[in-house]
Each structure stands twice: as C-alpha cells, then as structure tokens.
C-alpha cells in the first residue's frame, strides 16, 4: 500500500518534470513543475515528515511556483523565444552536469542491502517528523543556523529589490 502510493507520487513527480522539459509553452512547463512539487510533498508525507509536507505545499508548490507562474504571465514570455540555437555551449555543459548528477544518484544503489532493520523505524520517523521535535531541535542545538537563516533571507530580499530597481 505504502509502496504503491510512493510509486504513484514519484511517478507523477517524474511525469511533471518531463512536462517541464517537453512543453513548448512556458506556463504549461511551470504547471508541470507545480505537479512535481505537490507530488514531492506527498513523498515527504509518506516518509512521515508531516511538517515538511505542509511546508513543501505552502512554500514550494504555493509561493515559489506562484511567483514563477506570475512572472511568466507578467512578462508575457512567448513560446521558447530564447532557446532558438540548437547547439549552444550552455546545453553541452548542462547535459554534462545532468550526467554527473545521474551518476551521483546511482552511487547509493551500488551498495548491497543487508536486510537488517536500521534505527529509523516507523515510530522513530513519526517522532522525528513532528513539528514539536523539529521545534526542539531548531531552538536548541540549531539555534545559530536559525538566526543566520534570517540574515540570509534579508540578503535575498535586498538582492531582489536591487535587481528589479536598477532601471527605475
């Protein structure tokens, strides 16, 4: 049951990703990415990460993708205006990096499965996935990264305003 759900969600994620690549219309591509983000949220949920599930929905599927769809609508980007040249050097680099990434994904599969149960049982995952546990970690041992994150976000905001305001 769990495995079937996982393959369903993962399958939709892959289909969405393919849609991003293959659609000629940028809005359709963006919606493919929305589908991928939502299915990834479901994958997180199947790993008992409840909080990450809702955050994935809120931040990635909602806010980030909303921004991308919004900007495509705002700027009226037509069908693949930019990608006209067939053999751009960027493409070669991109394919190379994608290949490296694929190899990196394959590495874990080369190790043998022992069949022994690790420490991450279902109940352990459930405990770790809860908001309460995350909160205790975030405001205990990981306090410094948390405060630094706020500075990072501030930098991001200043950067966005500077970039957009350059021509005004």
């Amino acid at each position: 049951m769990m495995l079937a759900m996982f393959f369903l969600a993962a399958g939709v994620a892959v289909l969405g990703a393919l849609g991003v690549l293959l659609c000629r219309n940028p809005i359709h591509s963006a919606l493919g990415l929305v589908a991928t983000m939502v299915s990834l949220a479901v994958v997180y949920l199947l790993h008992h990460a409840e909080f990450i599930f809702v955050i994935q929905l809120m931040v990635y599927a909602g806010a980030v993708m909303g921004l991308i769809v919004f900007v495509i609508m705002l700027l009226d980007i037509r069908r693949e205006e930019a990608a006209s040249s067939r053999f751009a050097p960027g493409k070669v680099v991109g394919v190379g990096l994608a290949g490296l990434f694929f190899v990196a994904i394959l590495v874990p599969f080369t190790s043998r499965l022992t069949g022994r149960m690790g420490g991450m049982t279902e109940s352990a995952l459930e405990r770790i996935g809860s908001v309460q546990y995350l909160s205790d970690q975030l405001f205990g041992p990981y306090l410094l990264p948390f405060e630094i994150a706020s500075i990072l976000l501030l930098v991001g905001l200043v950067g966005a305003v500077t970039l957009a305001k350059k021509k005004l």
């Binding site: 909080f51 705002l74 909160s135 948390f146 405060e147 706020s150 991001g156 005004l168």
Partner: protein, 118 residues
C-alpha cells in the same frame, strides 16, 4: 499517523472527480452554436487586437518577491509558536532577534518604495 491522511485522499479523489467531471459534462449538455463574433474576445465591441497579453509593472514582481521572503520567515515561526509555552522567555528572546532582522527587511522595502501604489 499516516492513516489520518487516507480520508484526505478520498476527499481529494471525490473533489477532483467533481471538478473535472463538471467541466466535461458541461461540454456535452449545453447547446453548441458558435459564431465568430461570439467566440471573439470580450471587450467593448470593436475588433480586438490579437494578443491581449502585455507586459505589466515590475511592482507586481517586487511585491511577490517580498511575499516569498516573508513567507519563508513566517514558516520558521510556526514551530516556534507551537513550542512557545515550553521554550519560555529564552525562546521568546530568540524570536525577538529573528523578528528584529525581519523588521530590517520590512523597513528596507518600505523605504525603497516597494509598498507604494499609485
């Protein structure tokens, strides 16, 4: 715990079936008498220039970007709020520092005129 999500899955199937089903059904039930002026874009009656899409103000983009950053900051605050009573005064001070940095960003976009609409 995951069991609690099964009803949501059922509701999703029902809602999606309903949403898509109604769209499909309405295609078949109504009459179909298209003519060129009926199918043209609705505006004030004159011939419409093709391609109603146009470029819009960069302001919309800036507001969206500001939303994105603040939204992520708010996401950090939810776990804190859940544990607020246990974290006590120390946790509150931690969050005050976080809020202060958020406030800097807020004042910055205000001063830069991102929030101005004319």
């Amino acid at each position: 715990m995951l069991q609690n999500y099964i009803p949501i899955l059922i509701l999703f199937l029902l809602a999606a079936g309903f949403g898509l089903g109604v769209v499909v059904i309405s295609m078949f039930l109504g009459p179909r008498r298209p003519d060129p002026s009926k199918l043209s874009t609705y505006e004030c009656g004159m011939e419409v220039e093709p391609g109603a899409r146009q470029r819009f103000d960069v302001k919309y983009y800036l507001v969206f970007m500001a939303f994105l950053v603040f939204d992520v900051e708010v996401v950090f605050m939810y776990p804190w709020a859940v544990r607020f009573q246990k974290l006590g005064l120390f946790g509150f001070v931690e969050m005050l520092i976080f809020l202060l940095i958020l406030l800097v960003g807020y004042v910055y976009i205000w001063r830069k005129g991102v929030l101005e609409w004319e």
